[in-house]
């Protein structure tokens, strides 16, 4: 009977794997179709002279802008400065949001103390906080990190609370009846059980951090992708603007892909129904 059970679960498993693989192929194929359609449309509009090159630069012009930046060395410096700002600002968000969120999810007292402040801060537009950050912190790198932190922290902590609250109650009860202390329940059950959800939360908030980058580099910055986009507006250099946008998109996509890879490595036991 034991063997039967194994056989049943194995055959069901391989079927699911095959179905998933087929779904994955179709998904990738469709992704390429949509991506290439946009590029095709872009080519038709520009090479067909339907739009003015002043408003929409051709793919060739954008490519030349990227090559130009690569040659004079600004490509790497700007990409790195922006990536570093996003990562440092976001890292501090995660570092504070995870433990605090875990405590808030499990303690009514701490939650009552902090929840209203967080809900309030969440609705403050980050752009409106830029003048204050400059007054308090000046125009150095810390001010940029704080902008990214402000943009992501209050969102992330609410997501962490939600993720931690949705840990299966029975799993916690099982641990308690096996003799786990309060601290052990946190460390051995709630944290590992939350990890798949936390990785998703991280992936989403890193994406948002990139959107706050332009806010951070809008004022008093002298490098970064957001900075070159804003600077190019003055010279009507739409090719550089496009190049900057494409670079932000590409780095974002790369980060997303890395986070997915990391998730697979950290929580290999986790099955996602919608995983591609």
């Amino acid at each position: 009977m034991q063997e039967n059970e194994t056989v049943i679960s194995e055959s069901a498993g391989s079927e699911a794997v095959m179905e998933k693989a087929a779904g994955g192929r179709q998904y990738r194929w469709l992704s390429w179709v949509s991506f290439l359609s946009i590029i095709a449309l872009w080519c038709i509009l520009t090479y067909g002279k339907i739009t003015s090159s002043l408003f929409v630069p051709s793919p060739t012009a954008v490519w030349q802008a990227i090559v130009g930046m690569a040659k004079d060395g600004t490509l790497f410096v700007n990409c790195w400065d922006s990536t570093r700002r996003v990562m440092v600002g976001w890292f501090w968000s995660a570092l504070i949001a995870v433990p605090l969120g875990m405590i808030m999810a499990r303690s009514k007292v701490v939650s009552a103390l902090l929840q209203p402040i967080i809900e309030f801060a969440r609705y403050l537009p980050v752009v409106a906080l830029v003048p204050l950050t400059i007054l308090y912190l000046g125009i150095d790198e810390n001010q940029k990190y704080v902008i990214i932190w402000l943009g992501t922290f209050f969102q992330l902590i609410l997501m962490v609370i939600d993720t931690v609250s949705s840990v299966d109650r029975n799993m916690i009860n099982a641990a308690l009846t096996l003799g786990a202390s309060r601290w052990q329940v946190y460390k051995e059950v709630i944290f590992p059980a939350s990890l798949p959800g936390l990785m998703d939360d991280f992936r989403l908030t890193i994406g948002w951090a990139w959107t706050y980058l332009v806010v951070a580099e809008m004022v008093a910055a002298s490098s970064g992708l957001g900075y070159i986009i804003l600077k190019s507006q003055r010279f009507m250099a739409t090719d550089v603007i496009f190049a900057g946008l494409i670079l932000i998109g590409a780095i974002g996509l790369l980060t997303d892909w890395l986070m997915r890879l990391l998730t697979k490595l950290i929580v290999p036991w986790h099955d996602r129904l919608d995983q591609q």
Binding site: D168, A174, L176, T177, L178, G179, E188, H270, D271
Partner: protein, 262 residues
């Protein structure tokens, strides 16, 4: 007379919510489980049996009354009252082996002893060779075997089982019932088992408490005097059928009353 291991004294549970009439889930429940006894609580769905088990485990608080283990009142959850849940509640990130070791790890038992104890109980539930599997690779029956091994390995004084086989198919359920009957004979554990399946109750229990529908009360205590090994052949034993009819009549009356109320 065997010594009394677990004593439930006048437990009453009232759920009170704002803007709602208070709901009495359990009313003055008194139960005794002797050392090494196998006691089953059987009752209709919604009679509060799970709530009662949670109160005994210390996961919920009673409105009135108390639970005693070896004469000492229960204050909260602890390793002395191990629990097996219907939904298995395994830790999906741990291997089968590490799941079974979990309780011992919480109690700071050394690695070597932990590994040996886990292996002993895994072999008892027939899962040798699956030590390194993850829970998601197992069928429902196998998951529940792991959960039983995990609870036994933590060495509880009393084993509480909350409809552990409720989610399994009929064939697997019979196999698991016979497995559990064999384990309880071997380990002499004190077990309190709840179910709404009458066959299961008679097959496993030495004593059965029949509960009424809400508010849950104990309607009757039945002693099961069946000699020999507990297995599926018992299902057609005349004494078995006699007890079954008695419980069915009682539960049927309950459902009639419930239907009249609606």
């Amino acid at each position: 007379m065997a010594e009394c291991k677990l004593k439930v004294e006048h437990i009453t549970k009232v759920f009170e919510e704002k803007n709602k009439a208070p709901l009495t889930a359990l009313k003055d429940i008194c139960i005794e489980v002797d050392q090494s006894d196998f006691v089953v609580l059987v009752g209709p769905s919604g009679c509060g049996k799970s709530t009662l088990l949670n109160i005994i485990a210390g996961l919920e608080k009673a409105t009135r009354g108390q639970v005693l283990v070896d004469g000492k009142p229960v204050k909260g959850p602890g390793a002395d009252r191990g629990m097996v849940f219907q939904g298995y509640s395994l830790f999906p990130w741990l291997t089968v082996q590490k799941n079974v070791e979990f309780g011992l790890k919480m109690q700071k038992v050394g690695t070597k002893e932990r590994e040996e104890t886990a292996r002993k109980y895994l072999s008892m539930v027939g899962l040798e060779g699956f030590e390194n599997a993850l829970p998601k690779q197992l069928s429902g029956g196998m998951k529940q075997r792991v959960a039983i091994a995990r609870t036994l390995a933590a060495n509880p004084e009393v084993l509480l089982m909350d409809e552990p086989f409720g989610a399994l198919d009929a064939q697997t359920r019979v196999v698991m019932q016979e497995l559990l009957a064999g384990i309880s004979r071997k380990t002499r554990n004190t077990i309190l088992f709840i179910t709404h399946d009458i066959d299961e109750a008679i097959l496993l229990g030495n004593r059965i408490y029949v509960m009424s529908r809400r508010p849950g009360t104990v309607r009757k205590e039945i002693r099961v005097d069946l000699s020999g090994e507990r297995n599926h052949n018992m299902l057609v034993d005349p004494h078995f059928l006699e007890i079954k009819k008695e419980i069915m009549d009682m539960l049927w009356q309950e459902s009639q009353d419930a239907a009249m109320d609606r």
